[in-house]
Symmetry: C2
């Protein structure tokens, strides 16, 4: 790709460098390939390490690069489309919802922020189910699904007190309610330490946080906070849930 | 808030620091307030500047802080919920869609990536309408709406050749088609220079890119690439399009 004269451009240097790097990725590198180290790249393009890092960070935001512990910076595969907004009227864990695996269930008084979001009393017990979403054999999302005890009043103590079996029992009870609607929101976040571990990311890595409120009988029967890997996921919603443009936002529109 | 001993924690220092800073923001600072500079903060918490910057970057990802040119780092207001997935069957610019303002319209052969996404020939003319979405008087999103000439065959040359008037004429013609469905995808991206300018962000700032494919008569009649400010926006979809939890992902679930 050769070096490039960056002095004359009005845009920030890192921005122009990013464009040059993008072209280089398209022309010279293949998916999974490891990039030269920062020192080499900085020398090659005649920029400061800080400038290079800014450009690499943006390419990471766009899903073009992945930084992995012990591996280095590699060229990322196209993002995977994962359906979020389809089946607007399905409960979590309903038949057909096999993308998610319930890994645990704990019953306790929730954090204040969760209690407030659920509009329950702060001392009301809440079942919190931890679920992992797999796609192509890789974990793409980690979820905390909060279900007020009042949403599943007939839950018996006979079932396992915790763990996947308990989670399934809680979901079975939840499915007895008639779901009125689901409201969701997507926002940028940073991975909590526990989610980061599940998703093989560093704490604080950029994630897409999907908050879904399940409404039944006019109240919030369940609240899901799902943390998706922002580097590998494109969240799709709509009737078919399939928008597949294997191109980064930058390249798609430029 | 006092200083904190960060040596003994297993988590990355920046991660623990971020938690400490979050508490400080809740207890000591109000929305819009300017934080002390990095040197003072680093000294106060007994951490290196690099560690502090990592923590600040994560708080920015979570929408707790805003870095603004010439102002410094300020405490961010709660994110604004903007509906994306409601009105699944409405055309862009349809009556009632007054959140968006069409600012320009250009007719030309599109970039290859757009032509491919539209599944049109690379030399077919495409009308590209630029729209800005306002919320609470602030621009929250910038959009490029691509409409193949074949979607609006009866468009007359009588109308203005470009500008808002032309955009409105193209949309009027588009609305004659019967919309079958909309498919959307949300992914993390970095702001292009032109979008960054519209949104008062620096090029490369984290953004949420919503790609919407409008299907009519079995083909893509229009393709919208909407760039939302990730720092100030929470994208809501679902029946009511209203999920309002004024709490960052981190604090919501912790």
């Amino acid at each position: 790709m050769g070096t490039t004269q960056l002095e004359s451009v009005p845009e920030p240097k890192y921005w122009h460098l990013k464009t040059v790097l993008t072209e280089a990725l398209d022309s010279e590198f293949s998916v999974g390939e490891i990039l030269p180290n920062e020192r080499e790249l900085a020398a090659r393009f005649g920029v400061a390490r800080a400038t290079l890092r800014q450009a690499l960070e943006q390419l990471e935001l766009e899903g073009r690069l992945q930084r992995r512990r012990g591996v280095g910076t590699t060229v990322a595969p196209p993002r995977v489309g994962v359906a979020v907004g389809t089946e607007q009227h399905a409960w979590p864990g309903a038949p057909g919802d096999d993308a998610w695996q319930a890994v645990d269930c704990v019953t306790a008084a929730p954090p204040a922020s969760v209690a407030d979001a659920l509009e329950t009393g702060r001392d009301e017990a809440v079942h919190t189910i931890r679920r992992i979403r797999m796609s192509h054999g890789q974990p793409v999302a980690a979820e905390l699904l909060h279900i007020p005890a009042s949403s599943v009043p007939d839950l018996t103590g006979i079932d396992a007190p915790s763990g996947p079996a308990r989670a399934r029992a809680v979901l079975r009870e939840l499915h007895r309610l008639e779901l009125e609607r689901r409201d969701s929101a997507v926002e940028l976040g940073s991975a909590r330490a526990d989610d980061a571990r599940e998703l093989d990311r560093l704490p604080g890595a950029p994630v897409l946080v999907v908050t879904t409120r399940y409404i039944a009988a006019g109240r919030t029967a369940a609240l899901a906070v799902s943390t998706y890997r922002a580097d590998t996921c494109r969240l799709t919603f709509g009737d078919s849930g399939a928008v597949e443009i294997h191109d980064s936002p930058e390249r798609r529109a430029s």
